[in-house]
């Protein structure tokens, strides 16, 4: 029983990080209709940003979050403004190709500049934990979960209650109507992609504290984010939290009851099931 509870807690905490990873992908997908295959690479770059801020300047990874997010925001904004805008309104396949290309470029550049060595962000409290009711809660994962929740709720509030948020939603729903109301879609697109990249950066920074960063982590993370975004739906940031936690729980319970080698079978099996039964995602309303 204790083991089951512990495994569920592990899954829940991991789920927070998963959700944060997928949040930016879901946002960019939902608003810009770009399935960003370079999303995992942006997470990887965020990880390196956090790593260098920590090792070279001694900035705690949690305090570095705003800075990492700002750096990635600038990168994302520029990418949309100067690269992805070239293929705006072209078929989905082109956006897949170009983001795949970006993914490869970032990976190769990362190996060139950062080498293939493993990097970990290892602050003194990295392995600390608290024990409640005989269950172990890794501190870093608790913090990460809190950050993920904060950023998700923050994004939700931003989308629902600010001018920018309304403009983003309007652009996603009806581009020409938004234009009529004075929204500059180019700016909104760049802003959205920037926010997506900033969220990826935050996820990367935290990922570096629980796991390690190499130039090659991107592809696997993109696949995971893709599954979470589908399961959670693209309409609602809170859906992404549900998707992330659900995926992590499925993985943990599969590892416990079936065997760790079946994790991917189970998680992608669920993805297929969701696509068949509720293609709009678990919390999504209707398919577009």
């Amino acid at each position: 029983m204790d083991l089951l509870l512990q495994v569920i807690i592990n899954g829940l905490l991991l789920g927070g990080l998963y959700a944060l990873m997928a949040l930016g992908l879901a946002l960019v997908w939902g608003v810009l209709n770009i399935v960003n295959l370079a999303h995992g690479a942006l997470i990887m770059l965020g990880g390196y940003a956090g790593y260098y801020l920590f090792t070279l300047m001694g900035i705690d990874p949690f305090l570095a979050l705003p800075l990492v997010m700002l750096l990635l925001f600038i990168l994302g904004y520029a990418l949309q403004r100067y690269v992805l805008t070239l293929i705006a309104r072209s078929p989905m396949f082109n956006t897949l190709l170009i983001t795949f290309g970006l993914d490869v470029i970032f990976m190769v550049l990362a190996q060139l500049f950062f080498s293939a060595d493993f990097r970990t962000i290892n602050p003194s409290y990295a392995g600390a934990h608290v024990t409640w009711f005989g269950l172990t809660f890794p501190q870093v994962q608790l913090y990460s979960f809190a950050v993920a929740l904060l950023l998700t709720v923050g994004l939700w509030l931003l989308l629902l209650h600010t001018r920018i948020g309304r403009a983003i939603r309007a652009t996603a729903q009806n581009l020409s109507a938004a234009r009529l109301y004075g929204v500059n879609p180019k700016k909104i697109y760049a802003l959205t992609f920037g926010i997506g990249a900033a969220l990826a950066g935050a996820a990367g920074d935290l990922y570096g504290v629980v796991s390690q960063i190499t130039p090659y982590i991107g592809a696997t993370l993109t696949a995971k984010c893709f599954a979470i975004a589908i399961i959670g739906g693209l309409e609602n940031p809170l859906g992404v939290i549900v998707g992330g936690v659900l995926l992590a729980l499925i993985e943990s319970l599969t590892a416990l009851y079936v065997g760790p080698t079946f994790i991917d079978v189970a998680s992608f099996g669920v993805l297929v099931l969701v696509l068949i039964i509720r293609p709009q995602g678990l919390l999504g309303k209707t398919a577009k």
């Binding site: 495994v7 290892n122 990295a126 392995g127 934990h129 796991s211 390690q212 943990s252 080698t261």
Partner: protein, 395 residues
């Protein structure tokens, strides 16, 4: 004009004469991609050994002197590409002999190319028993047999007080680690200990929290992990954050490398590992003087410490040099036969291949103590192990 034509013709003749006297070794290595971190040891080791042998005058074969060259292709950590590259090396680039890639699943597939073309491949990157128990004639290996990786560790564990009673084994689901795990079951039983968990996980797994929680509930005295470096790092970090500390844990890979200690800092302490090679001046060598001199020169040239992968790669090149000189021929069949007869002292250890094509080399048990790797146990205790490992909150 006339003069320059003569000069050009002269150059061509010299060039051709040189070209005739080069023996090229070919390899497909992970220079980029997920395995690039270990692949570089092979790339750098091959190049370093070839340079050194050439600097010492190259090879003397049937009265002619030959220079060695190495042609390395980057397989981008993709084993399918690796197979195609070995075919390309033989068909298109016309290399004379093959050096190996890193990792058993690569060597397993690539050795079929060597066998099909009947060109010998000496590889120091794949240890799985599967590579060698197919009756192939053209594949040779300089890593210890995978199934015996934990043999010396278990033999050391028998000498510890209190002697560990229960053992858990974790292993990745690839050719090499499955072989390690199969062998380890036997060594555990032979040591009179009880196997309380034997768990297989997917290669590249990053979340070990469930496995660790499961292990915590069965309290093994010792945990033996056969996996890859990134998994080992994840395992240790998550073991710390879930407050799991057995009396001892040991890992097939990672522990000897500098990268491991950099990534973990002081959390690397007390981890046991193994190495098929130590940079000791006792390992005499014809080309580099000894293993210690080699390690220093390597570090100076490439900027990082070599580990057993690099030494194994150097031994592969040296084995070809010795075999070609022994055969006094560059005919692949004759060189193959000469390889089976080899018996020489390299900086990596004595090189003599058995009937299946592998060398016999015991693993030395090592442990990270006070942020440095210490040799603990070979055939007998070299240095005192720190055991039991202090729990995380007592460090």
């Amino acid at each position: 004009m006339k003069r320059s034509i003569v000069a050009l013709a002269g150059l061509l003749i010299v060039g051709q004469a040189l070209a005739q006297n080069v023996i090229t070794l070919g390899a497909s290595v992970q220079e980029t991609g997920a395995l690039a971190n270990t692949g570089r040891y092979y790339r750098d080791g091959y190049n370093f050994a070839v340079d050194k042998i050439n600097a010492k005058g190259g090879l003397k074969v049937a009265g002619n002197s030959y220079q060695l060259a190495v042609k390395i292709l980057d397989n981008q950590s993709d084993s399918n590409l690796s197979v195609r590259q070995y075919v390309q090396l033989l068909n298109q680039d016309k290399v004379s002999f093959l050096l190996g890639p890193f990792a058993s699943n690569f060597a397993l597939a690539d050795s079929s190319v060597a066998e099909k073309f009947q060109v010998p491949m000496i590889q120091g990157g794949g240890a799985s028993d599967q590579i060698f128990n197919r009756g192939y004639q053209y594949i040779f290996g300089t890593l210890p047999v995978a199934s015996r990786y934990f043999e010396s560790t278990l033999s050391m564990m028998k000498t510890l007080t209190p002697k560990p009673q229960t053992v858990a084994v974790l292993f990745a689901d690839d050719a090499f680690d499955v072989s390690v795990a199969k062998g380890t079951e036997k060594w555990v039983a032979e040591a009179g200990m009880k196997l309380v968990a034997n768990e297989r996980y997917s290669t590249n797994a990053s979340d070990f929290s469930t496995l660790i929680s499961k292990l915590r509930s069965v309290h093994p005295d010792a945990v033996l992990v056969a996996g890859h470096e990134t998994e080992v790092l994840n395992f240790i970090r998550q073991a710390k954050s879930l407050n799991f500390s057995p009396k001892l844990y040991s890992f097939t890979v990672g522990v000897p490398t500098e990268d491991f200690r950099h990534a973990l800092g002081k959390d690397a302490n007390y981890a046991f590992g193994m190495t098929s090679w130590i940079a000791s001046p006792n390992n005499k060598d014809d080309y580099f003087a000894d293993a210690k001199a080699f390690a220093e020169a390597y570090k100076a040239k490439f900027g990082y410490d070599p580990d057993y992968h690099a030494a194994s790669a150097v031994a592969d090149v040296e084995a070809f040099a010795k075999a070609i000189e022994k055969a006094q021929s560059t005919d692949p069949k004759k060189v193959r036969d000469a390889i089976t007869q080899l018996n020489f002292q390299s900086l990596y250890g004595p090189i003599a291949f058995n009937a299946t094509g592998q060398i016999s080399l015991p693993q030395t048990v090592i442990q990270v103590q006070h942020n440095a790797v210490v040799d603990i146990y070979g055939q007998k205790t070299i240095n005192k192990p720190i055991y039991p490992m202090p729990s995380w909150d007592k460090r």
